[in-house]
């Protein structure tokens, strides 16, 4: 109810759209969702955070774990962030250096 997750396939890229809040309570759901996609063969993921109203460091921790899993299989994770609110936490933590951030899902899938 606090975090909605949906997934669609664009070519060989799985696009996960999150809506709601990613925090210490909901981060385990995101983790389980990404891990299950990855274990069933999705090596390249786009995580669309456009409709995420709140993201804290437990959410970042989940993204970092997923990034490690992706790299283990030669894959990548691209993020879509359009709000300053969410972009700010990537700036503060410097995580934008390891996970490329895009303005649109199209750009994130194509890159």
């Amino acid at each position: 109810m606090d975090l909605q997750l949906s997934t669609r396939q664009e070519g060989d890229v799985a696009v996960v759209s999150a809506a709601g809040e990613i925090d210490v309570f909901t981060a385990p759901d995101l983790d389980a969702h990404l891990a299950s996609l990855q274990s069933s063969g999705s090596t390249n993921l786009v995580v669309d955070l456009t409709r995420v109203a709140f993201l804290d460091s437990t959410g970042l921790g989940v993204l970092v774990k997923a990034l490690k899993r992706a790299r283990d299989t030669g894959g990548w994770i691209h993020l879509v962030v359009t709000t300053d609110r969410i972009r700010k936490i990537f700036d503060i933590t410097g995580l934008d250096a390891s996970m490329p951030i895009f303005d649109t899902v199209e750009a994130a899938v194509a890159s």
Binding site: D23, F25, F54, D56, S57, R85, I89, I92, T93
Partner: protein, 130 residues
């Protein structure tokens, strides 16, 4: 002035409510919206950290979030039951984020646990500076 005090059990689902109470208090104090985003994130990080630390230490004591404002500062104090020496499983990430966002942020031993204090200047104060 005392604004509000919220006492919650150390459960992940309680952190959202604590963010809301903090956000509502900051709005009432006239804090501008972009500053409120910072406060919400910083306070959310610190409370989530206290909840996780207590869970890891097996401490079921309540976590106390105390929000006050005076003419100069909007202050949030989070009291938990963990020893300040206990390390963070996230390598200190939550606390670093809070430190980056708060104008003042310190952790000290208090009661039989830790107290994290975060403060932000209130808008009126910024303008009043001579």
């Amino acid at each position: 002035m005392a604004t509000a005090t919220l006492t919650i059990p150390p459960q992940a689902e309680q952190v959202r409510t604590a963010r809301l109470v903090t956000t509502a208090a900051a709005r009432r104090c006239g804090v501008p919206e972009d500053r409120i985003d910072e406060i919400r994130l910083a306070v959310g990080e610190v409370i989530a950290r206290s909840v996780l630390r207590q869970q890891r230490a097996g401490l079921v004591n309540p976590v106390v979030v105390d929000i006050t404002d005076d003419d100069e500062l909007f202050t949030v104090r989070v009291q938990d039951a963990t020893a300040p020496e206990q390390s963070d499983e996230d390598g200190g990430m939550a606390l670093s984020v809070a430190e980056a966002l708060a104008f003042e942020c310190d952790v000290r031993a208090a009661g039989s646990g830790s107290m994290i204090r975060m403060a932000w200047p209130l808008a009126g104060d910024l303008l009043d500076i001579e």
